[in-house]
Symmetry: C2
Subunit: 345 residues, 2 copies
């Protein structure tokens, strides 16, 4: 039996399954789960454990401890504001032959060379400064650095997709505490991206509309600016997951111009500060969800980029690993209401 | 350029992408990643933080603190060896109307009622005993309890898939330290299962063979018993991920008979002990990967159940969340060799 999608905040809520029309993912919303006890001691709050500036290779003055630089802003200036560098421990190698199509041998073993690019964006010269401490203009410059690097990587025919992401805090996976993000250029279209595109296409074929444009709804809205909105997605995979979506339909993140980047920087700063105030400065990840590179004009009508921000509040365990299905104890309407109403000083 | 799939342990290895023919997942193998430093303090080793037996509802004598019992072994015996009980904080509810097909409204919002079952298997009456401490026969009894409960749940037409899983240790998601596993009966076929079935079908259509039967290869083998093997899968998603596979082609875990369950219990015990010795007693998850319920005779030739065991060694972060693609610093051949050769006392 299909139940109403709106939540009644007075009555205890029954669990509900929702399928996201963008990610094509089933999520179980189960408020009862939030109440379960734990007999493991609660985790200590984020311990920054930050190195002194003297020991951190990402700090200004330590450029020689890093892998080679790709560019800096401003250019040729020892007093830089941000740097894009090679990752010293790259997951993919720029020094081996480009991958061709996966080789499906007799044994069914599909293998391709790990050609690709793995870069780090040092977002500030100063160790103690976090992304949300930067001004909208400075955050905009970080986003423009991402788009500029993507445009360089597009010149490689064998690069099919570029993933921009950020890990903040040790339990969100960060190994370095100095504020940074990463850019990985891949020789394959990754599975979650292929699934998302397929789902957006199906929605478009059925309704004639873009599923991301349609995810703008009053009950899920957090904030709005001239060209962007922030929302909690209807079938959020994680509690308090947030998306920032450009209002004008646009398939590729790298099409962002520098003026809109400043506006996006402002909305991202607002979302990060709200999250930090409401959820006690949690570790988090953000991911840019964009479209594959190359000749894909046919994807333009149904494919729409957005930025996904996920506070690290719950552990992915056996159920999620086994099924690819997630359990979220917080209904998106409730999360959106909280985030909409929190006042940022 | 497709490279050879075998690893040369003398030369430094280039990264490689592999696609698993069972899970249909791309994994990046990148030994260089293992060397990267972290400026966050290393995590303290597992702190069991176990409650005293007096406070744990799963301990013998505390049955009244638990949600209702479904069955125990031996039956009607206060001196029980294991109990299957309802989860007191279930993700799905057995008390609401069964879900019909997802309702795709105008808005594209697909919602179904959260009907389903969520049970806990208390694997031992004694708080300090872990699954790997039990005898092969006792582990077999736990596995038979899983299959027996699945057979009960199969009587509900609206239940499409049953996920059996175990979380061991806080950073593998466990909230309770007393040894237990969980059984969730779902009103939908979850996405990872649908993807796995699609991938196994494609392999079968192309080769006429079962992809799981074919994953048995010398370089990936850990151990073998009369009816089961343990391997590291060719495109393991996680470092030191292990699969236990029945040698006779079989689509459903619940077809396991009690004699083979004891044999499987022995191989599972061996794998857990090897993992514990080699990797310093890590937190871990195990998941039973089986086939959907209901009328699916057409799946039988290509669908083959197995058990997946994953030590919790790395953090899933922005790249994995964004792409669904994983980075594994350990080549499967190398992990298999280590696990094959470790001597269990
Ligand atoms: N001197 C130097 N010069 C240049 N680069 C340097 C450097 N010292 C360190 N680096 C690189 O800086 C990066 C810092 O990245 P993060 O802190 O975001 O997480 P990391 O990539 O380690 O792993 C997290 O993110 C990945 C991807 O999501 C997950 O696979 C993983 O489990 C999780 O911990 C590392 O990739 C490291 O290789
Ligand atoms: N008195 C009682 N009677 C009956 N049942 C009781 C009980 N007290 C507690 N329980 C239940 O016992 C279960 C113990 O399960 P686990 O320790 O394996 O992890 P949990 O399900 O909490 O969450 C982990 O696994 C899930 C699923 O993978 C993830 O969503 C989550 O993030 C992760 O922490 C809980 O589900 C709890 O509800």
């Amino acid at each position: 039996m299909a139940s109403s999608s709106s939540s009644d905040s007075s009555a205890p809520q029954s669990p509900q399954l929702r399928k996201d029309s963008v990610t094509n993912r089933w999520v179980i919303f189960s408020p009862a789960r939030a109440k379960r006890p734990s007999d493991f001691k609660s985790k200590s709050p984020i311990n920054p454990n930050q190195q002194h500036q003297q020991q951190c290779p990402f700090c200004i003055g330590h450029e020689h401890e890093c892998a080679p630089e790709i560019f800096r802003v401003p250019p040729d200036n020892p007093d830089w504001k941000l740097r894009v560098i090679q990752n010293l421990y790259p997951a993919l190698s720029r020094d081996i032959p480009a991958a061709e199509e996966g080789n499906n041998s007799d044994s069914g073993r599909v293998v391709v060379n790990g050609f690709g690019f793995h870069d780090v964006v040092i977002e500030t010269p100063v160790h103690s400064v976090q992304l949300s401490d930067l001004s909208p203009r400075e955050i905009g410059e970080v986003l423009v650095a991402h788009t500029r690097r993507i445009k360089q990587l597009m010149s490689y025919d064998s690069i099919k997709y570029v993933q921009v992401f950020k890990n903040h805090g040790a339990s969100a996976g960060a190994s370095m505490s100095h504020s940074h993000s990463q850019i990985m250029a891949l020789p394959v279209v990754p599975p979650a991206v292929a699934t998302r595109l397929g789902s957006m296409k199906e929605y478009f074929d059925q309704t004639g509309k873009c599923s991301v444009c349609e995810s703008n709804s009053k009950d899920l809205l957090i904030d709005v600016s001239a060209h962007f909105i922030s929302i909690v997605p209807f079938a959020a995979t994680f509690p308090f997951e947030m998306w920032i979506i450009p209002l004008d339909h646009s398939s590729h993140f790298h099409e962002l111009d520098s003026e809109k980047a400043v506006e996006l920087g402002g909305l991202l700063k607002l979302v990060l500060r709200k999250m930090s105030m409401q959820l006690n400065n949690p570790p988090f990840n953000f991911m840019v969800q964009t479209s594959p590179l190359g000749d894909n004009a046919s994807q333009l009508p149904y494919s729409h980029w957005f930025m996904q921000i996920v506070p690290q509040l719950s552990v992915v365990a056996g159920f999620e690993m086994g099924t690819g299905c997630y359990i979220n104890p917080v209904f998106p309407e409730d999360a959106a209401k909280v985030l909409r109403e929190v006042k940022v000083s």
